[in-house]
Amino acid sequence: MSQKIKSFYHSAKELLPFLEKSTNFVTINTDQSLDKTMEDVYDQVEPTIIHIRPGATQATETLKREITEKLSKDHGFMDLDIGSLIRDENERKTQIGRDMLKMVQSNKVIPASMIVRMLKKIIYNGQPLCNKFILSSFPDMIEQAKEFENSCSRIKAIIYSSGGSDTIEIKNNNLSLHNLDSLF
């Protein structure tokens, strides 16, 4: 066996049991595929993100607002309103704020990658203290959902109005790589 591998196992005898007792310790099996390994790692670090779809009627829109308020006030979720966040970045003249302003000034749509870059900064800089978020105005299109899940975090659940009725349903999300509205 390689000397480097031997050396790790020698020091690990004492070190790993100590860390297991005194820290937030998790063992990840890396014999499996890289995709599965990364999923196991992301499970440990990704925040809880709930996407609330726009309401189909006035009543569901009201319900959506009530749910957002309840999640924020009673359960500590932070509502990430994209419009306000972009305005905020712009006012603070951050790099991403300036990049977005350039896009708007040249009459271009702000690309999903730029919005996700902004969200990533906000979502992960407060970790692990703030780890529950609501996305209410983003993603709106499948490309945006893909970009968000591929580059930032998986969406744990989607709350949406069901059909023509004035009710809201919750779906565990394992299928956001499809057109979002077509699911409902």
Partner: protein
């Protein structure tokens, strides 16, 4: 965040993907020791130097690869710095590690 595991278990690859996704910086402790000529220094000295570097980091969250190397460094770090948010111990069979090292030309 600490990232530990035997050689060729995937620390660098997994760490860099995680750092990119979560807006974190990554520091390889072995490279840090070598680039600061701390190869002969004791555990307390190298850990103090690392803590000092962390205090100057612009990004508040950092992945430390290959740290701690032993229980003394771990204890000293926990006493004098923040508790890590996560400690990942990468578990990889000796055969797979050896195979990866051969592929990398390190066998």
């Amino acid at each position: 965040m600490f990232m530990l595991g035997p050689h060729a278990s995937g620390k660098s690859h997994i760490g860099s993907k995680l750092a990119e996704r979560t807006n974190m910086n990554m520091i390889n402790f072995i490279e840090f020791v070598s680039s600061n000529n701390l190869g002969d220094a004791d555990d307390e000295t190298v850990t103090t130097a690392l803590i000092s570097k962390l205090s100057k980091e612009v990004k508040p969250r950092v992945i430390l690869e290959n740290f701690p190397q032993n229980i003394y460094q771990a204890k000293f770090f926990l006493r004098n710095c923040k508790q890590p948010s996560n400690v990942f111990s990468l578990k990889c069979s000796k055969e797979v590690c050896q195979e990866r090292m051969t592929i990398l030309g390190e066998g």
